[in-house]
């Protein structure tokens, strides 16, 4: 299950960041910020190659971290989704991460089409988006 979910706009400022253990939030913000560099590197590296849909999903960003792995995903409109996953209890398969990103992308598209949302604003008032993210996060009792 995800520990932190972030949506970053194309100009690299956060549209939505939420992490589950609400103390230590700054640490997660920092992790997401550092992964942006890796995301940018991956995007520019595949710029010239013939890229297919799979590559919208960027996969594991930092191979050296033993727990708290980070995954990235980029849309055609250069909006990035970064997810920090706690892998200490369950080993999540690639497909599950992909399906989580797909759900995230679908909810983000719904937010975009909402007439009360101005593109570029923080995603604050969308309850549907919030509840979708909550369903993906760890249940901390």
């Amino acid at each position: 299950m995800a520990v932190c979910v972030a949506v970053i706009a194309k100009e690299n400022y956060p549209l939505y960041i939420r992490s589950v253990p609400t103390e230590n939030e700054l640490k997660f913000h920092y992790m997401v910020h550092t992964s942006l560099d890796v995301v940018d590197e991956k995007i520019s590296a595949m710029g010239k190659a013939l890229v297919d849909q799979r590559e919208l999903y960027l996969g594991l960003l930092y191979p050296t971290e033993d727990y708290k792995k980070r995954y990235g995903y980029v849309t055609n409109s250069k909006v990035k989704f970064v997810m920090v996953v706690d892998s200490s209890n369950t080993a999540l398969r690639d497909n599950e991460i992909r399906s989580m990103f797909r759900k995230l992308h679908n909810s983000y598209t719904d937010v975009m089409c909402n007439p009360f949302y101005n593109p570029g604003d923080r995603i604050q008032s969308s309850r549907a988006f919030d509840s979708m993210v909550t369903s993906m996060m760890i249940q901390v009792c």
Binding site: K10, M46, G47, K48, L50, V51, D52, Q53, R54, E55, L56, T75, N76, S77, K78, R102, H105, N106, Y108, T109, M112, C113, P115, P119
Partner: protein, 170 residues
């Protein structure tokens, strides 16, 4: 889009609605056209985002060339001419020309929003009102794909029209 006629009629009402609710000064200095264009812009942004998701779901198990990420501007313009135009107007752009320096001309010989109006030169002077929304649509779609542009339209004989896209290099 379930029914073409729905969008057509709604669009016509939108144009006349904007003009009816405008004050005297606005009709003369083109503020209504700007309003329509901005409406189209926001719609274009949302539509492109939705097109992204649909492409993902449909091509999940087919790693074909169609789902390639756009390599350059020309790819994006071709996407606008084919997929985007087909989604909105159920047909493709008939002709795309470019001078390879950031200017693209999209020619549609039978523009859906104008076919009901006339088949020649009649009502030519009113055509620009009905093209403003579509110009905004193109501009919105391009801006979400990372391209800043200026889109204008011209009609010499209905229902054929040309959309000129000027890419801003920043």
């Amino acid at each position: 889009m379930a029914d073409e006629a729905l969008f057509l009629l709604l669009h016509n009402e939108m144009v006349s609605g904007v003009y009816k609710s405008a004050e005297q000064g606005e009709v003369e200095n083109g503020r209504c056209i700007t309003k329509l264009e901005n409406m189209g812009f926001r719609v274009g942004q949302g539509l492109i985002e939705r097109k992204n998701t649909v492409l993902l779901l449909v091509d999940l198990f087919r790693f074909t060339k169609d789902t390639a990420r756009f390599k350059d501007e020309l790819d994006i313009m071709k996407f606008i001419c084919k997929d985007f135009w087909t989604t909105v107007f159920k047909k493709q752009i008939d002709n795309l020309r470019t001078n390879h320096q950031g200017i693209y001309v999209l020619q549609d010989n039978k523009f859906r929003l104008l076919t009901q109006m006339s088949a020649g030169k009649q009502y030519l002077e009113h055509a620009s009102k009905y093209l403003a929304f579509t110009c905004g649509l193109i501009r919105g779609g391009l801006s979400n794909l990372g391209i800043k542009s200026i889109v204008t339209a011209e009609v010499s004989s209905m229902p054929a029209c040309k959309f000129q896209v000027m890419i801003q290099k920043s």
